[in-house]
Subunit: 232 residues, 2 copies
């Protein structure tokens, strides 16, 4: 299955790239620059492509990011601290982001003759991002079957859609993913902050998986106090 | 129904904008610059917004256009002459273009609190563009219901999806659309060429509707000889 992986440079999508490289035919990685403040993550996607010896393409959709303003991921709104699965994390939603990126990736797949687009959406995203839920994934696949009918036959590979993030850590380790070469923090500082939703989720996932976390955090212990629903 | 109209500046989408302004609450027009050689059409969308006194936004997705290269609409490939519904017109397909633009427009609608996105896809597009067919439109609506669940409730208004282009001319005339202020030609010259698929289709639609065509064409009679399946 010739596959293009949507790779942000984060733990999930880099693990997915290593899995696809091992189990399928990895055609390349695609990243999106939507003006995210943590765009340094894209360098980790580029490094992953070099490691796996495939092309890496970054598509500039910053003008879309600007147009859909109002999210803490792109605007001058503070990224909140705390657990990912909290009401406060709604501010990190860029409306329709996943649908937009997937539609672009499907166009790319059709243009390149790929059989599949792979995305690392996972169960932990369901709380806040509706465009990461299984119902969305199924509906998107159906939509694309219609959209490309007669031109291309591209499917959506989303192996983690029902998995917790800890299962991705386990899967990534199985395929030799160098987790230190991945970036999660939404704040985009020099090292991971350890306090934002995605840092807390990352730290927790390694703990649940029972795998050592090689990441350097500014605040390495914050995650123990961040629970769903608030800070303990 | 607060509605954002996807408006290319062409006959169909400008007619749609006039209809929505008359029958619904028109929030604004959105155009996409995907590097199309006929991007002068966008000026006609901007003029339509001024006329209807609503904001107009052009979203720059040229980097997506570059990435999905291989279409005569964006590349240095000649735009073919002849009827729109011909095999040769497949070269004008930018893969997944409609799905991409609609997904972006839905993100914009969610960000702006709109109830609907309106698109002027029509029956005449079905021959070559799978992402203009009724099955696609339905599947897209379903996908978006999932993608924005809990955040926004946006529907897709596609009143022409089963109509021939001539019915759009009739509808546009009913709402006072100034057809001379619309642009169709894929070649993007000073005046409409009269020979490319979309010029032939335009000319034919006015004829079928029995409404005078105010457009100046370089070759005003070519359309009579262009029939589905080839040039007569």
């Amino acid at each position: 299955m010739k596959t293009i992986v949507i790779c942000s440079g984060g733990l999930d999508s880099v693990s997915l790239a290593h899995r696809v490289a091992a189990e399928h035919e990895l055609l390349g990685l695609v990243s999106f620059d939507y003006g995210q403040r943590h765009r340094k993550e894209i360098a980790f996607a580029a490094a992953c492509a070099v490691r796996l010896r495939v092309p890496h393409q970054t598509i500039d959709i910053r003008d879309i990011g600007r147009s859909l303003s109002g999210s803490a991921l792109t605007d001058d709104v503070a990224v909140p601290d705390g657990h990912y699965a909290e009401e406060t994390m709604r501010i990190t939603v860029v409306p329709n982001r996943n649908a937009i990126m997937l539609a672009i990736a499907f166009g790319l797949a059709a243009a390149r003759g790929a059989d599949a687009v792979a995305t690392a959406v996972h169960g932990g995203d369901h709380f806040i991002y509706p465009d990461c839920r299984p119902g969305f994934i199924d509906a998107f696949r159906t939509m694309q079957r219609h959209a490309l009918e007669g031109y291309a036959d591209v499917t959506l590979f989303a192996p983690y859609v029902n998995a917790p993030k800890s299962a991705i850590v386990t899967d990534g380790a199985r395929h030799g993913t160098p987790f230190g070469q991945t970036w999660s923090c939404y704040k985009g500082g020099d090292i991971h902050c350890g306090r934002c939703g995605t840092c807390v989720e990352r730290r927790e996932a390694f703990d649940l998986a029972g795998i050592a976390d090689p990441t350097a955090y500014e605040d390495a212990d914050f995650w123990r106090h961040a629970v769903k629903g608030g800070v303990r």
